[in-house]
């Protein structure tokens, strides 16, 4: 790529510092043995070398295309995710000093944290809000990457790494959800691990493995705690390093273009230090400030201690799995938990590997046609998803209408085929209206599914009350 000529080994450029007369003393020799480049580079040459010579910075490019710098291009979502992971590690380490992962003591240790540790509640709130924001920001990052077509060529596999990161982030959130050991966390984990039971053949075994037994108890808690505090953070940091490095190898983030621009134009570049680094730093600091405000204003809360004998009504999964739980109310469990999410995940992973003619990247929605198709897909989902939820709640009775069929067909295959048929029809109609090549058409489908997921999640969070019946969020 354009930057490869800058990426020569640092040894190729000879030392320039320390050129004055007398030999440097021990402190400065020690300092220079640690930091071989000045930490506050002044010349352009030093600014390049500081990137190459630092363990962390060397994952970033030396020069970046100037047009990728503005905030509106990426909205800094990747950097924000990294900042949140940093906050989570810092606060998580503090929480580990106080938290005791056993059913007898877990709840009490959180109470003690809130009551007896100065800033204990605040640190927990920062951890809580960072974790929840991370799911949200990572999802937006995925949308940004998709709708700027940043998954072709050198970025193909980085898309896959990104999807893996999203999955691991969800795993981190999920394992952390159990730790307070209150009614909310206990029953949310019960429900979601219960969903695993619908995996064909292996379901029963997977559920036992996930819970460390048949019921949620001390084995579940210690397993979740260990994954949450060791395996998962290490995996996240490792994948993040891989993800960043791949961005560097692809020559920085995708270059924004207007649809009419000639892709062959060589973009003007600027140095990473300070042009991009300082922007990222400022974005990160502002985000930290925002999280702090959130943590002060909104308490993470702690419900009644977990009581395995009494399920609360309603019992809900964590919010990021409520879309899945909503699917459970409309499809046979094997379809809601296994087949439909499995298909969605496969589709997500396949996105960079489909054949595109031509692959288009850089511009938001890649073209005007693409924009129209994406908007059409999203609007169709806004109209059809609530309609489906309402009809299925009050009108449709699949098993009643198709009485003779086994439930896997009448409540699984049939509604799934109907739903997929509706989506297919929407895409065909939009395609007939606006035209468009494969990538532009894919945007209609992606926009539809992403919007549907958001709406299903919102229904699960706000419109499901007692007994998971539909209702308004403001009636008690």
């Amino acid at each position: 790529m354009a930057r490869d000529r800058h990426a020569k080994g640092p040894e190729a450029e000879e030392e320039a510092d320390g050129s004055s007369g007398s030999p440097p003393g021990l402190p400065s020799r020690l300092w220079r043995s640690i930091f071989r480049t000045p930490l506050t580079p002044r010349t352009e040459r030093e600014r390049k070398r500081v990137v190459l010579n630092h363990l962390v910075l060397h994952m970033r490019p030396v020069r970046v295309p100037e047009r990728t710098i503005p905030f509106r291009h990426t909205f800094g979502l990747g950097g924000m995710s990294a900042t949140l992971v940093g906050l989570l590690i810092l606060t998580g380490v503090l929480l580990m000093f106080v938290y005791e992962p056993s059913p007898d003591r877990a709840y009490g240790s959180i109470e003690a944290l809130r009551r007896n540790v100065r800033f204990g509640g605040l640190v927990r709130n920062v951890h809580h809000w960072s974790a929840n924001l991370l799911v949200f920001v990572a999802f937006l990052h995925l949308l940004r990457t998709f709708f700027t077509g940043a998954f072709h060529g050198a970025r193909q596999f980085n898309w896959v790494i990104g999807v893996l990161l999203l999955i691991v982030v969800l795993a981190a959130n999920f394992t952390g959800y159990l730790l307070p050991w209150d009614q909310l966390s206990f029953w949310a984990i019960t429900i979601v691990t219960g969903m695993l039971g619908y995996l064909p053949v292996i379901g029963e075994g997977v559920i036992r493995l996930a819970r460390g037994g048949t019921e949620i108890g001390s084995a579940t808690l210690i397993n979740f705690y260990t994954f949450h505090t060791t395996v998962i953070p290490v995996t996240i940091v490792g994948l993040m390093a891989f993800h960043f490095w791949r961005v560097r190898k692809a020559g920085g983030v995708v270059i924004p273009r207007e649809p009419a621009d000639d892709p062959a134009d060589k973009p003007a570049t600027v140095l990473f230090v300070p042009s991009l680094l300082m922007r990222e730093f400022v974005t990160g600091l502002l985000l930290v400030a925002a999280v702090m405000v959130l943590a002060v204003a909104l308490d993470a809360g702690l419900g009644a201690p977990a009581n395995p004998g009494m399920s609360p009504n309603p019992a809900k999964a964590p919010w990021y799995f409520l879309g899945l739980q909503e699917l459970l109310l409309h499809f046979h469990p094997t379809w809601a938990v296994v087949i439909l999410p499995g298909l969605a995940l496969l589709g997500l992973l396949a996105i960079p590997y489909l054949r595109y003619d031509p692959p288009m990247e850089g511009a938001w929605f890649v073209s005007e046609t693409g924009r129209s198709l994406a908007v059409a897909g999203a609007l169709a989902a806004v109209a059809l998803t609530p309609l489906w939820v309402l009809l299925d709640e009050y009108v449709i009775d699949w098993s009643g209408w198709l009485g003779g069929l086994p439930p896997g067909l009448s409540e699984g295959l049939v509604p799934a085929v109907v739903a997929l048929g509706i989506i297919w029809a929407v895409i065909r109609l939009a395609g007939r209206q606006y035209g468009g090549n494969r990538q532009e058409t894919l945007q209609a489908a992606f926009a539809f599914l992403a919007t549907a997921l958001v709406i299903l999640t919102a229904v699960g969070v706000w419109f499901r009350g007692e007994g998971m019946a539909l209702g308004w969020p403001w009636t008690p």
């Binding site: 429900i191 039971g197 460390g212 395995p308 399920s311 009504n313 019992a315 007994g467």
Partner: protein, 169 residues
């Protein structure tokens, strides 16, 4: 003098040379070491025997203690002992077969209702309304010398209620 040609990386033709065989062997052994660690992890995560489950048989009490057509909760055993109108006994698990919530007995409605997704079961554990996919699990009940005993160490899954599941004095 060593013949330099021998040190060239193996090509298609020399792919089965001793050197490439040994390299592959080492790589394979490294992979094996990794696989062993994964195996270790699986062994460590494998559920350990549950003392409550191993405890096995729970003595519920004498037959006449339980009224006809009644449901008695045994929180320690995580089940309900139901006595049907005809005098038969069933030990019904309290765990909803949909997603594992705990189902309370609604005495006034005469049914189990799951608070999570409103599945309902009758006194025999049979599904009255979905989304529950099958009847509540049961534990084997034995009646010895007029004493009802429930084997909580064994859980029997069932699709529907059948008369053969009922224990009689």
């Amino acid at each position: 003098m060593v013949d330099r040609r021998d040190e060239r990386p193996p090509t298609e033709e020399t792919g089965t040379s001793r050197r490439s065989f040994l390299s592959r062997l080492w790589l394979g052994l490294g992979g094996l070491a990794l696989a062993e660690y994964v195996w270790l992890m699986v062994e460590f995560l494998r559920p350990r025997p549950d003392p409550a489950e191993a405890a096995g048989v729970l003595v519920a009490g004498p037959v006449e203690q339980f009224e006809l057509d009644s449901v008695t909760a045994f929180p320690a055993g995580r089940f309900y002992l139901t006595r049907l109108a005809d005098g038969g006994f069933l030990a019904v698990s309290r765990e909803c077969t949909h997603l594992g919530c705990t189902v309370p007995w609604m005495a006034d409605e005469g049914r189990f209702v799951c608070p999570c997704h409103s599945s309902a079961y009758d006194i025999r554990g049979d599904v009255l309304s979905p989304p529950a996919p099958r009847a509540l699990d049961i534990h084997p009940v034995r009646i010895e010398n007029g004493i009802v005993k429930v084997d909580t160490g064994r859980t029997l899954k069932r699709r529907y209620f059948e008369a053969s599941q009922v224990a009689r004095a």
